[in-house]
Amino acid sequence: MPSFLHSPTDKTPTPIDRIIRHRGIVLNGFILLLLVPIPLAFAVWKLAPATVQAVLSSQWAVSLIMLAVSLLIIVHMCAVCILAERKLSAYIQDRLGPNRVGWGGMLQPIADGIKFVLKEEVIPARAEKAIFVVAPCLAFAVSLLGFAIIPWAGEITWPWTDASGNPVTVTTQVASLDIGLLYMLAIGSISVYGVVLAGWASNNKYAHFGGMRATAQMLSYEVPLGLGLLVIILSSGTLRLEEIVNQQATTGVWNIMAHPVAACLVLVAAFAETNRSPFDLAECEQELIAGFHTEYSAMKFALFFLGEYAHMVTASAFLTAIFLGGWSLWPGYDPLAEVHTWWAALIKFNVFWGKVLAVIAFYMLVRWTLPRFRFDQLMSMAWKGLVPIGMVMVIIALAMNTVGLRPDPAKGFAGNFAYFGASLAMNVVVIVVTMAIGARRPPVTGRQPNLPPVQA
């Protein structure tokens, strides 16, 4: 056990501890969770194979199953992320973090949930009551919509055939939209409302300012997000997420390798859209208490909190699918790219979630490492930094397309090497030029140039 999971010796057991230390509860939980479902599934498979085959052959049924599975994973991931973030921040700051409830603090999210339900709900006087109640629901609901178009594990070809003897193929995506990436942008622009309405309805000056800031920030960073995605669409020629992932798997060129600048644009925009540090100006404690959710308590606050983490998980999944090759094992040659068996799909599913976890870990490390931006820095970074870079990248992508340098899924990594090399070279040139321009300007400090020098 790493040292930051250690419990202190003076630990007094909590009520939850007493429950989970009970041997019967531990054993029964183990039996219920692991030993019952697998034999049960096997028994159903043995007793009614025709029914199971019919269900699994229907794309609708598979979509609904994937919807349930991914929704459950995301909601549970929120709880795990909250705990992981608290542990990670404690580790970074040389603290212990939550370590009382359960094994080394593992059940802290459950205790948090119980606490949220038992807290008193306070609605401040003269708050706009209806909007005050609707805003957290909106934030939570919108953050759980995005995952539907993510291709979790590619296609599955079942080992059986249908009535006419053809192989049965289903995809593990919940919904395949031809406006794929536009759907993602639409979800992003609707998620503004939860924040702005919460800030406005609270009748609190801090909440109001936090809401305004968050709105301006989300709107500003949607522009570089759109430009970065435009670069990817120009190179892949489709808006469908599954085609973008397939193309990365078959060519062996992940988009982050060929378009690192676009990846950075979208990554930064994703940080800003999810209101995570270093872009959490909407809720910076030193200036605005808690920003737009200052007046929220109990479950309404929990909805905001869950929504933020769900948004983070979804954004990480999008980044994985668009830039990190989705379910593709590794760049170069992917041995599973053309394998569509059910076990390959299981491996791909796990690979996808592994990448998502890596991106989430990156999110958390950034949050606890970097200081927060100031608001004018934030705005000038969006409009004077990211938007011009994005425009240049779009022009470069246009030029590459015009001379015929684009990924060809029919060829492997070697056949796409010219495209990969040229794209990477152009990106490196842009990075070098940008850094050169940035180095010529005076460093950004907290000092305003028109203020008198500090007296010693």
Partner: protein
């Protein structure tokens, strides 16, 4: 038109009418803006039912994500009283009815006099929607496409002039 589709159409059309009525008769401007959000969302759903999914996405991104934020900001900028309410005077109501009636008459004339092309049976390839839109936009309608950019330029200049930061 299948039965399910008809049901879905009437649900969203009903939502559109319902929320529009609330926009009209609401006394609180921000709540009216929220009903406007529902109305715009219903329009997006109706566009989806027609198979115009690119337009539906544009409706969501631009109208709900952009125009409505502008309206909300505009209301917050101008409203002074704690409870943003407004009372409509009689002559304003009359003027509103006259303008609305003229608009309705114009729309009805246009609706009744224009030929309505029959939709082509089943949309087999849904991906055709965005592609068709792009093809029309960049071939037959390339001139309007360029004029849109000039219009946007004019709006940019206008915004820059109107909200110029104060001189120091």
């Amino acid at each position: 038109m299948s039965v399910i589709e008809a049901i879905v159409f009437y649900i969203f059309a009903g939502l559109l009418v319902f929320s529009s009525v609330f926009i009209l008769f609401g006394r609180n401007i921000i709540r009216s803006a929220m009903w406007l959000m529902a109305a715009l969302g219903a329009v997006a759903a109706l566009l989806l039912l027609l198979g115009a999914n690119y337009l539906a996405a544009v409706q969501l991104v631009l109208y709900i994500g952009g125009v409505l934020v502008l309206i909300v900001f505009g209301v917050m900028l101008t409203a002074k009283s704690p409870y943003i309410r407004y009372d409509v005077k009689l002559h304003e109501q009359i003027a509103g009815f006259v303008v609305g009636g003229l608009l309705l008459a114009g729309l009805l004339v246009a609706l009744l006099n224009s030929p309505w092309p029959k939709p082509p049976g089943v949309v087999s390839d849904q991906a055709a929607s965005v592609r068709d839109f792009g093809e029309r936009l960049l071939t037959s309608y390339w001139l309007p496409f360029e004029l849109v950019s000039l219009l946007l330029l004019a709006v940019m200049v206008g915004a820059a002039v109107l909200a110029r930061p104060e001189k120091r």
